[in-house]
């Protein structure tokens, strides 16, 4: 104990002047001022660098925000007073960038159709459709190819299966030439007046060469030559043709026209989409879907009820067990205390999904340890019965979560003044009485916020549900993959990331926001109900 008290005094020998303080502000020691200057200097240097980079890449909005932030930091630390801000700023800045900003950004995503099939910009989508639509003419030969260059334009020199050398460029259909050089396999490799590109030069002009398309005849319908590796080319015809003016794709075989539907896809009159779409703003659509999607509608009430049940019961059981054990071991002369404590936090030290897997093995009705060894071969369907699966999930979550509560309670118990205990005991109060009347209320004052936080955590406790039951057993009578142990977040995960449309980040973000609103509102209300805030004033 002693060294704890002594150490800081030794290591932090700030030569604080003993002047009485003015205006409530402690005198700054030389070391303190130096530290402040250095830290602020480093911060400003980094900020200057960031601002410079932002200016270079013309990100003016972010530039403005960063500039304001930098100025605010300097103001906070250079002015007199405003002490709370000085202590809060570092943590809050991280919070703003990595949590608040992420939330804002998610909100933005919630108004788009970002997700599988709508993954990037329209230009990207068009390029990709064109790329995929360009099909090799069936049974056409493969041409040994050299890439030539003249006056900054590129040409393909190919040798036909008949041994004829032909040359062509983007504006110049393929025509027969007399090669000036041949490669080792007999293919034409050079033409008078053109420079042949070697491999290194090819690499430097990859984009131009891979996009080079040489018409094989004056008639564009015959197709064009393209090379992907600079050494072989094939004749391609486009299955779809893009008309930049009309902003439509036309199927060259059937004549079907696909036009921009304003929702990030090219759609034909009969409703068929081209494979690749792009990201657009869809307004409130994702939120509308949250309220109208039959996936979400059906079992929603059951899921919400269970989400609350799961979260509340998880907090209650883990807290009860954690507190009980913390009190049990909070005895100074208990032998083996350290040893017990270590073993008890072990579940917390293993990856949750590994634990989930082990437990699903243990709970296997036929081969699992619980039924086989503990219950003498009973065939209890721990994970497949609608009620028992809930019990199992709670039990496993208790196993996973009580070490946390145990640690926290052990810590909090230290803050209880021991004399209260002694005084009460002298008054003849029993252990249980002391606990319920004195210790528990005191503990709850500091732990209530944590219990609410733990509630929120379990409200979104994806791992334990997903690893153990995957949300199952499925509800009967619904066609959707939603089951008895599904909580909101697992249901949302399955709907936004798992069903027909693939990963739908827009919908996921919208639902994340809705879940956040629910859980934050419930938590804020329960704060009001607890004494936790009374203590804050």
């Amino acid at each position: 104990m002693v060294e704890i008290e002594v150490k800081p005094e030794v290591s932090l020998a700030l030569p604080g002047g003993r002047k009485p303080s003015k205006n409530g502000r402690g005198p700054d020691s030389l070391g303190g001022i130096l530290a402040k200057i250095i830290l602020l200097g480093i911060t400003d240097a980094v900020a200057a660098f960031v601002l410079f980079q932002l200016a270079l890449s013309a990100e003016w909005l972010i530039f403005g925000i960063s500039l304001l932030t930098t100025m605010a930091i300097n103001w906070i630390y250079l002015r007199r007073g405003g002490l709370p801000a000085k202590y809060l700023a570092p943590g809050v800045i991280f919070l703003m960038v990595f949590q608040v900003f992420v939330m804002i950004f998610s909100t933005y995503i919630a108004f788009t159709n970002y997700g599988d099939g709508h993954n990037s910009s329209k230009e990207d989508a068009i390029a990709s459709i064109q790329l995929s639509a360009s099909e090799r003419v069936p049974d056409s030969p493969q041409f040994p190819t050299s890439v030539l260059e003249r006056n900054g334009s590129y040409f393909l020199l190919v040798t036909t299966p008949e041994g004829e050398a032909k040359l062509g460029g983007a504006e110049e259909p393929l025509h027969t030439v007399t090669p000036s050089a041949t490669g080792p396999t007999g293919a034409a490799a050079g033409v008078e007046g053109y420079g042949t590109l070697d491999f290194a030069t090819l690499l430097q002009h990859q984009a131009e060469i891979t996009s080079l398309s040489v018409p094989i005849s004056a008639n564009p319908e015959d197709g064009s030559l393209k090379t992907a590796d600079g050494s072989t080319s094939y004749v391609y015809t486009p299955k779809l043709k893009y008309d930049a003016n009309a902003d439509t794709f036309t199927d060259t075989a059937t004549g079907v026209v696909y036009s921009d539907d304003g929702r990030g896809s090219f759609v034909a009159a009969d409703g068929t989409h081209l494979n690749t779409g792009w990201k657009v703003n869809v307004g409130l659509e994702n939120f509308e879907r949250a309220f109208t999607d039959p996936n979400l509608q059906g079992p929603l009430l059951k899921v919400i009820a269970w989400t609350f049940g799961f979260a509340i019961l998880s907090v209650a059981t883990t807290f009860a067990l954690g507190l009980f054990l913390a009190i049990t071991f909070n005895k100074a002369d208990l032998k083996g205390k350290k040893f017990y404590r270590i073993l008890m936090i072990l579940p917390y030290a293993f990856p949750a999904f590994l634990s989930g897997l082990v437990w699903s093995g243990l709970l296997n009705p036929e081969f699992g340890f619980i039924n086989n060894a503990l219950l003498g071969g009973a065939q209890i369907p721990w994970l497949t019965d609608p009620v028992l699966s809930k019990v199992s999930v709670l039990m496993v979550n208790l196993w996973l979560g009580y070490p946390y509560m145990f640690l926290v309670c052990t810590g909090a118990l230290q803050s209880l003044p021991e004399d209260v205990d002694e005084a009460a005991r002298m008054d003849g109060a029993g252990a249980w009485k002391i606990f319920t009347a004195i210790k528990l209320p005191l503990l709850l004052v500091s732990l209530a916020p944590l219990l609410i936080a733990s509630f929120a955590f379990n409200f979104n406790n994806f791992n334990v549900i997903f690893m153990l039951t995957g949300g199952g057993p499925r509800f009967d009578g619904t066609t959707f993959d939603i089951g008895s142990t599904d909580i909101l977040i697992t249901m949302v995960y399955k709907i936004a990331f798992g069903t027909g449309t693939g990963r739908d980040y827009g919908l996921a973000s919208a639902l994340a926001i809705l879940i956040f609103i629910i859980v934050a509102a419930v938590s804020a209300l329960s704060f009001k109900k607890t004494k936790a805030l009374e203590d804050l004033n």
Binding site: G26, L54, T328, K335, P417, A453, L536
Partner: protein, 302 residues
């Protein structure tokens, strides 16, 4: 594994039969509870250990323990050049230590402000900190990816693939619950202590470092430990941010052993998980005396 030892401790004590009843009332029942609780804690983990020692690489068999014995999984863990387990171990230690130290520091500063200063927005601020952490980040990891992608364009050292960038993301969650934990504890330190120090001419910085911090060591240790455990098992964000195997953490790296359906290697994964638990246990062992050394033992009351 360790259960026999536990039992030995438990049964060895009541040798003195005369006071058994008394002993039991004072301590004996605690041992019973301890044995039950530790058994509950560790028996599922015996399966992990069993899988770690079983060369066939199966996991959930659970019908028999320790049917086969071998260190093959551990050898494979260290022999695999593509999956540098040693590096992962070091990375986890570094990221975990830096992040938890910074978390403790940032959290303590905030808790100090909330506990010792009165300012407008204090109640709202505290509540907001807690509420913000309720955002289901799992569903919005893509936003973190896009953010880091952008940051990486501006400051490459903080972008995707950078451990520093990951630490920054983790520090975004440094306040929140931790602040509450510490705030509650800070409040139990009598304000008379810092007031008298202020009268003696100490600055607020000195009060913070020299008066408050030493007295709240238990909660600092708890928060540090919780942060370390959280980070060493955090997988979702780390797997998005850390792309290069040499920079990955244990949670991300080990997962690659079981990520591929039908060719999972649970044996090696379990072996890795067993070893990965060692730093957490060591840290706990080290911090335990701080956690349980409370206010009670010090000279605070005086």
């Amino acid at each position: 594994m360790s259960t026999p030892t536990t039992k030995a401790t438990a049964t060895a004590v009541p040798a003195n039969k005369a006071s058994f009843g008394q002993w039991f009332k004072a301590k004996g029942w605690r041992h019973l509870v301890a044995i039950a609780a530790t058994a509950f804690s560790i028996f599922p983990l015996l399966y992990v250990l069993s899988a770690a020692l079983n060369p066939t690489g199966t996991m959930a068999g659970a019908s028999s323990l320790f049917t086969e014995f071998g260190t093959g999984n551990f050898q494979e863990l260290f022999a695999n050049q593509e999956r540098p387990f040693g590096r992962w171990f070091v990375n986890t230690l570094v990221i975990g230590t830096v992040t938890s130290a910074a978390t403790v520091f940032l959290g303590a500063m905030a808790a100090y402000a909330f506990s010792r200063m009165r300012f407008t927005g204090r109640r709202v601020g505290l509540l907001t900190l807690l509420l913000l952490q309720m955002f289901p980040q799992l569903l919005t990891v893509v936003a973190i990816f896009l953010l880091l992608n952008f940051i990486g364009d501006i400051i490459p050292a903080l972008g995707l693939g950078s451990q520093l960038g990951l630490i920054m993301v983790y520090l975004g969650g440094a306040l929140g619950v931790n602040t509450y934990l510490m705030y509650g504890f800070f409040n139990t330190v009598p304000t008379s202590l810092d007031e008298s120090a202020r009268i003696d001419g100490a600055s607020h910085v000195q009060v913070f470092f020299q008066i408050i911090m030493p007295l709240v060591t238990p909660i600092l240790a708890v928060v540090g430990l919780l942060a370390f455990i959280g980070i060493s098992s955090e997988f979702v964000i780390a797997s998005v941010v850390l792309t290069d195997p040499d920079s990955q953490t244990l949670a991300v790296g080990l997962y690659s052993y079981v990520a591929q359906q039908r060719s999972e290697n649970w044996g090696v994964f379990a072996a890795g998980a067993v070893l990965a638990a060692i730093p957490v246990m060591t840290l706990f062992l080290f911090l335990q005396r701080y956690i349980t050394s409370g206010l009670t033992a010090g000279g605070v009351k005086g």
